[in-house]
């Protein structure tokens, strides 16, 4: 299920190493480990060792061991990230890009090393193509306001898909309202796939931009992103891929994908909240006006004339989330230290096991059965509302999401008010999938 083009996450060595070291943020164990792991010697993913890296997994909820299955909402954080944040504030904290003093220079180095880490994670050609933002949502808003707004007039079209998260709907609706542009929506089929022929039919002479999820948060569908980009580019239309869900589960290579923009959130990829990244092709970023004004995004300011800074700094007004950025790099280093294929095989195995166990329960209907999926198991249970499922599972220590998953149009597409959603991360196990199924049988019992 891995695109052959993506080798971004080749790596090896212990993922738990690097915790608490100052250099963890910038060091890249993955690159050095890549050569060691030929397919023949690739070890299976050691989930028990990985679980030991996440202190929260030792928590008990309502007296039961925590079974955390809400990773599509946010992932838990490994010690490597927690210690990096602690270490930054305890020993390294300073502002960046301005101080002559030692700590400021160190913080600036760590911040810019983090940019290089994100560049490698995404397979971008140049670190200048990486803009730090708060999250995927802010990345999409930045592109909408700074890139697309100048390219659309009344009657022009922006194309998204029917499986988008609200964060990839609302910014475009706001832009359409402002400019008179029209939002077009590519349909999805019953399984939760975007039929590409339908998608292509919706690209017309007025289409100015395409923005779609690399992977769906509500359905788990992995979209054929490269094909979508190819189709759009054939019509001369630039593309943004929303990688909020894909980043923790699918190797990403923006050059192989060919996309013009890519966004993701740090907190879903085992990093801190409040930090994410936008990739944009350098030629686009160069041509775009700043998103926000302030310090750090300027070269010189007089009351007559301000000269903007170069990319990417032009888009990073004000003191950024420095600790979060360094913490994000620690998370990406942590993730990249695993062998990508072993990890993917583990995640696919747990999802397949959970899918089988949950499907076997009478009255369960899966929402989202695409051929290529990761992490997400969305379902409804006959006669039981998702909220009640969520409450009963919570009593068993099992954290799932119950609701519309910030994708109300997806719920409307399937004619359900809400679903229960279990979403798996690297630390989840077959045993936890069994616990989910067992608890669901209790739900059935309560409501029988």
């Amino acid at each position: 299920m891995k695109p052959a083009t993506s080798a971004t996450r080749g790596g090896g060595g212990s993922a738990a190493s690097g915790a608490a070291t100052t250099g963890a943020a910038g060091s890249n164990t993955a690159a050095s480990g890549a050569a060691k792991n030929s397919p023949a010697t690739r070890p299976p993913f050691d989930v028990a060792a990985a679980r030991a890296d996440f202190p929260i997994l030792a928590e008990r909820i309502h007296g039961k061991p925590l079974v955390y299955l809400d990773n599509a909402a946010t992932s838990q954080k490994p010690l490597a990230v927690i210690e990096t944040l602690r270490n930054f504030y305890a020993h390294e904290s300073a502002n960046i890009h301005r101080g002559v003093h030692y700590l400021s220079a160190q913080a600036t180095d760590a911040y810019e090393r983090a940019r290089a880490t994100v560049q490698q994670f995404l397979g971008a050609a140049d670190a200048r193509e990486i803009v730090f933002v708060r999250n995927a949502t802010e990345g999409i808003n930045l592109v909408a306001l700074s890139f697309v707004r100048r390219r659309v007039k009344s009657g022009d079209e922006i194309l998204i898909s029917a499986m988008e998260h609200h964060s990839n709907i609302v910014p475009w609706q706001m832009l359409c309202e402002e400019t008179g542009a029209v939002l077009r929506v590519a349909p999805i089929d019953d399984a939760g796939d975007i039929p590409l022929a339908d998608f292509e039919r919706l690209i017309g002479p007025r289409t100015r931009f395409v923005s779609v999820a690399h992977m769906s948060n509500a359905l788990g569908t992995i979209n054929p992103a490269r094909e979508i980009v190819e189709i759009a580019h054939r019509h001369g239309v630039p593309v943004l891929l929303d990688g909020a869900q894909a980043a923790p589960h699918i190797p990403i290579d923006v050059r192989a994908l060919g996309c013009d923009f890519y966004v993701f959130s740090g907190h879903k990829v085992y990093g801190p909240t409040g930090i994410g990244a936008l990739y944009g092709k350098a030629e686009h970023l160069e041509a775009m006006p700043p998103y926000q004004g302030g310090g750090d995004m300027i070269l010189s300011v007089t009351f007559e004339k301000t000269t903007y800074n170069k990319i990417p700094h032009k888009f990073e007004a004000g003191t950024p989330n420095i600790a979060g950025t360094i913490g994000l790099a620690a998370a990406l280093d942590y993730l990249r230290a695993f062998d990508a294929e072993s990890l993917a095989a583990h995640e696919a195995d747990v999802l397949a096991h959970a899918t089988a166990a949950v499907s076997a329960i009478p009255g369960v209907r899966l929402i989202g059965t695409a051929r290529r999926k990761a992490s997400v198991l969305s379902f409804v249970l006959d006669g039981v509302h998702a909220h009640d499922i969520g409450t009963i599972l919570d009593q068993e220590g099992i954290a799932v999401r119950a609701g519309h998953h910030c994708a109300q149009p997806v719920m409307q597409r399937y004619g359900v008010p809400a679903t229960a959603r279990a979403s798996f991360g690297l630390y989840n196990t077959r045993g936890e999938a069994d616990a989910l199924a067992l608890a669901l049988r209790k739900v059935v019992e309560v409501f029988r």
Binding site: H385, G403, V446, F447
Partner: protein
């Protein structure tokens, strides 16, 4: 499971399975819509108010067991009550499900089944959605009620 049985009492499960007065009310002279944007629960409460007496009440919508049963039991408990009495029941019910000091289940009849909700703070909005909507309908407010 004991907390769960506290929450999902038989009367609640029964009213969830077979909601009473679950229809649009012909000849209603008051109605209001309630919405919980966090979970998508929706309810419309219809009232026939004659003078200051609630002569009939019904509801429509979709929601979880707690919100559906709460709406269903609410309609049963209010028929024939004066407006001021209905508001007093809401007040008592609200105290019960939030575990407020002075909460007293005794005068609430079947609604006492919702006492367990106070152990589940995130479910209070489910239990009270229909009641807030009732309150809006009694006040003649046409705009929809939101829990957020």
């Amino acid at each position: 499971m004991s907390d769960l049985r506290e929450l999902y009492q038989e009367v609640i499960l029964d009213h969830n399975r077979k909601p009473r007065n679950f229809r649009k009310l012909d000849g209603a002279n008051r109605h209001a819509e309630g919405y919980n944007p966090l979970c998508g629960d929706k309810v419309v409460v219809y009232l026939k108010v004659d003078g200051d007496v609630v002569t009939d009440v019904s509801f429509e919508g979709s929601g979880c067991a707690i919100s559906t049963a709460s709406a269903s039991l609410m309609t049963e408990s209010l028929k024939g009550k004066r407006v001021a009495e209905a508001e007093a029941v809401f007040d008592g019910f609200h105290k019960l499900v939030t575990g407020a000091p002075g909460a007293d289940a005794a005068p609430l009849g079947k609604l006492a089944a919702f006492a367990g909700v106070s152990e589940f703070p995130v479910r209070v909005k489910c239990a009270t959605l229909a009641w807030h909507t009732l309150h809006a309908a009694l006040a003649g407010r046409a705009d929809s009620v939101s829990t957020e």
